[in-house]
């Protein structure tokens, strides 16, 4: 499978009476976006705003972050099984509005979470302080159930991203990146001397507000399976997860999965990137056994020499992570896992809820309990109110000068278990 990503570099977003891209500026017809959002009968009101890197702006509570993309050639369309038909994606050409993102915000449940600061100390921790963001803040109709609300906001984000992506269909990219996977047979023939490596991605699948979708299928219902890494670049995997801001994987990170990128960077040089296995993180323990058995089995079936396993979320998935690691290692396959830590505010507690000596190669995204003081910013998009209630925020955390003290876990993407960031801990 061969996919070309054509980057259209975006360095600013501005409102205009016409949506278009010119000289790296994304012009957005605000009224058109609002009308698009309000097509959904569950949404009562919407506000659309722009947050640029360096501005004194805080976005909270963040639900999802999506990168605008459009499928130019090859089969299918963006977000297959959800926005587009379920055709297989991952080949041909896809255009990307590089440097921009759609951020959805709005309170879904009372304890919601997720902060993106565009400047100050908080900006160092979230990857989305570096993108120019079109922020869509929706309020639902009265009496809506949380799962309907989550679904509506999820769809809003995807629809706006697709709308913006469409603007780049006929543009000439500033840069083209090519990603090509080979079949099992080709791989053996082409790279006989290189270690065979796969990526095992664990998807959050615990239930309401904790879901991930694969071609529209709730990941809770899947059994571990193979997927081409290029499929993820066209939105085959998307996030319905609103909980645990610091270590959930927003749709943006599925589209730009850094493990996929960094394995591709070594593909054909130091290793043979054989492919990708997706598995889940269910609550039911029998599912965990089945999924980890199956994952290890697939690794063996692919004749792997090595695997990287990434996690999403906290607590329950630690058990899946350790099960996967233990079972893959038991097949004689070298494994590295990527996780984050909850070592307590003073860093002295046990970091994970599970452990095993087989997990001897761990990359960490940092201690999510570590405290951080965020300065008062001029403008808040969304609502500051939930900050007291978000995971990692705590009562009376508003200091006298208007700054707030939170645990790192309140910041969107801060301790990414896909390894998006340089943050680590020792």
């Amino acid at each position: 499978m061969k996919l070309e990503l054509g980057y259209i570099n975006i360095h600013d977003i501005q409102f205009s009476n016409e949506s278009k891209i010119e000289n790296g500026v994304l012009y957005v017809d605000k009224a058109a976006v609002e009308a698009l959002v309000l097509e959904d009968e569950h949404i009562k009101t919407v506000e659309v705003d722009i947050a640029r890197p360096g501005e004194s702006v805080r976005i909270t509570p963040v639900k999802d972050v999506i990168e605008p993309r459009v499928k130019v050639s090859g089969g299918g369309g963006m977000f297959p099984g959800v926005i587009s038909k379920v055709d297989t994606v991952g080949s041909g050409r896809t255009h990307v509005l590089k440097g921009s993102a759609v951020v959805t915000t709005g309170k879904i449940v009372g304890f919601q979470e997720g902060i993106i600061d565009m400047t100050g100390v908080g900006a160092q921790y979230t990857p989305f302080s570096k993108t120019v963001n079109l922020v869509v803040n929706c309020d639902p109709v009265d009496g809506i159930a949380p799962h309907e609300h989550e679904h509506a906001v999820r769809m809003v984000g995807l629809k706006v991203a697709v709308y913006l992506g469409e603007l780049a269909r006929n543009l000439t990219p500033d840069e083209i990146k090519t990603y090509e996977t080979c079949s099992i047979k080709e791989g053996f023939e082409k790279y006989p001397g290189l270690p065979r490596v796969a990526y095992v991605q664990m998807l959050q699948s615990q239930g309401l507000l904790h879901d991930t979708y694969v071609y529209g299928v709730d990941a809770k219902k899947i059994i571990p399976t193979l997927i081409s890494p290029t499929e993820t670049m066209d939105g085959a995997i998307l996030s319905g997860n609103c909980v645990s801001a610091c270590d959930k994987n927003p749709t943006y990170n599925h589209l730009n999965n850094p493990v996929v990128e960094d394995l591709f960077a070594q593909h054909g040089k130091t290793l043979n990137f054989v492919g990708m296995i997706i598995t889940n993180e269910n609550v039911y323990l029998a599912d965990k056994e089945r999924s980890s058995n199956w994952t290890a089995q697939l690794c063996e079936y692919l004749s792997l020499d090595g695997a990287i396993v990434s996690q999403e979320g906290f607590g329950n998935p630690d058990t899946d992570l350790i099960m996967n690691c233990k079972k893959i290692e038991a097949k004689g396959i070298h494994t590295v896992i990527i996780t984050d830590e909850y070592a307590g505010r003073d860093g002295s507690s046990q970091s994970l809820a599970d452990a095993d000596p087989a997990a001897d190669a761990v990359v960490t995204g940092g201690n999510a309990n570590e405290l951080i003081t965020l300065p008062k910013l001029d403008k808040v998009i969304g609502s500051l109110l939930p900050i007291d209630k978000i995971a990692g925020g705590f009562d009376k955390n508003m200091l006298e000068d208007g700054s707030i003290m939170v645990e790192l876990q309140a910041i969107t993407g801060a301790t990414s278990e896909l390894g998006c960031n340089c943050l680590s801990a020792r």
């Binding site: 160092q124 270690p195 490596v197 850094p258 493990v259 990128e261 960094d262 394995l263 960077a265 070594q266 130091t270 290793l271 020499d305 090595g306 695997a307 990287i308 990434s310 070298h334 494994t335 590295v336 990527i338 996780t339 830590e341 070592a343 003073d346 860093g347 002295s348 046990q350 970091s351 994970l352 452990a355 095993d356 000596p357 997990a359 001897d360 190669a361 761990v362 990359v363 960490t364 995204g365 940092g366 201690n367 570590e370 790192l408 990414s416 278990e417 896909l418 390894g419 998006c420 960031n421 340089c422 943050l423 680590s424 801990a425 020792r426």
Partner: protein
């Protein structure tokens, strides 16, 4: 700002007094820097200076621990300094243990910031890395320049009460306290690099070492239990009435060894528990509930076991450090082995 005043602890060798033959050298306080102190002073520049040096022989320190600690602490106190540095000790075992021990003592007694340095395999590193900052050095004094380069800036930070970064940034041994910091590469790249090393069989460093499991492989089963000598050992705190050795109710610093020759049953009049971590009523009423002497005597009589060992060993598990517990066991396990005991029943609370 006034210069930070530093006191340094070094051994007889680094003071150029002598080698092993001078290891009994008693603590001596000298004004100003001695030996490695000169290199530290150079590194400190205008920010700090070594105002005094304590010299002590390695054998003297380790063989007269209490006295040595007390003397050195007094000497350090008399200097009115802001910071205490011991070593670096490199791979010198007794020197490393002394450096860790005296740093811990100075920190606890004088509340001063302390720092030492040694090689990863120095036994002092494992013993004290969780209680004091220990900078990782090379394995010989040839690594002095490198050690000073790492220790001097960290010492300044400690003396000024500045925020201390993660172990990987500052160069100290991981001490069980997790600290965030920014790596040069993103996590995914670090994972790929780590995997490539692992695949190639090259050394790599995990960013999160799994907790130390310290599992003990079970011994083979006792061949003939009817001939075996069985000993009782407990962390449940059972002691002769009155707790003659004053084993502490928590965080025990010692264990007891008691003769039960002829004792058929532990009664409320003869035995009790010293343990402060559980309701003692039932154990005090009948200590056999924790240390089953009565049942084992029956088994002995019926020929189900060979015999019950003449002594039992006991301590209080409540809050007792793993280090102490390991130390106790290392001592009495040898006694049990030498006495021909075939098996031990360990009871807790």
């Amino acid at each position: 700002m006034a210069k930070i005043k530093v006191v340094q602890y070094i051994n007889q060798f680094f003071a150029q007094i002598g080698g092993e033959e001078m290891a009994d050298y008693k603590p001596e306080l000298r004004q100003g820097p001695v030996g490695p102190g000169l290199a530290f002073n150079a590194a400190f520049g205008e920010d700090a200076e070594i105002v005094a040096t304590v010299i002590c022989g390695d054998s003297y320190y380790n063989e007269n621990l209490d006295e040595a600690k007390a003397t050195v602490v007094e000497m350090v106190k008399s200097c009115g300094a802001d910071m205490f540095i011991a070593g670096p000790a490199f791979n010198a075992g007794r020197y490393g243990v002394a450096c860790g021990s005296i740093c811990e003592e100075v920190k606890n007694k004088l509340g001063m910031p302390v720092l030492t340095g040694m090689y990863v395999e120095n036994p002092g590193a494992d013993m004290y890395k969780n209680s004091v900052y220990i900078v990782e050095t090379k394995n010989s004094a040839a690594g002095m320049r490198d050690a000073v380069k790492k220790m001097a800036p960290l010492a300044l930070k400690l003396a000024r009460g500045e925020k201390i970064g993660a172990s990987a940034e500052e160069g100290y041994f991981p001490n069980g306290i997790r600290k965030n910091f920014f790596e040069k590469e993103r996590g995914s790249k670090r994972a790929v690099d780590m995997l490539l090393k692992k695949l190639a069989g090259k050394p790599f460093t995990t960013e999160y070492p799994m907790p130390d499991f310290d599992r003990v492989a079970p011994n083979p089963a006792v061949k003939d239990i009817t001939k075996a000598t069985i000993a009782l050992v407990t962390s449940g705190g059972i002691v002769p009435k009155g707790n003659p050795d004053h084993i502490e109710a928590s965080s025990a610093s010692k264990y007891g060894k008691y003769d039960i020759e002829g004792v058929m049953d532990l009664t409320a009049d003869t035995y009790e528990t010293a343990h402060g971590g559980y309701d003692p009523v039932y154990a005090n009423a009948d200590a056999d509930r924790v240390l089953p002497v009565d049942v084992l005597r029956e088994f002995e009589k019926e020929g189900k076991i060979g015999k019950l060992f003449r002594y039992f060993y006991t301590t209080v598990g409540n809050g007792t450090s793993v280090k102490n517990a390991k130390g106790f066991a290392a001592e009495y396990a040898i006694e049990l082995k030498n006495a021909g005991v075939d098996a031990v029943i360990l009871t807790s609370t």
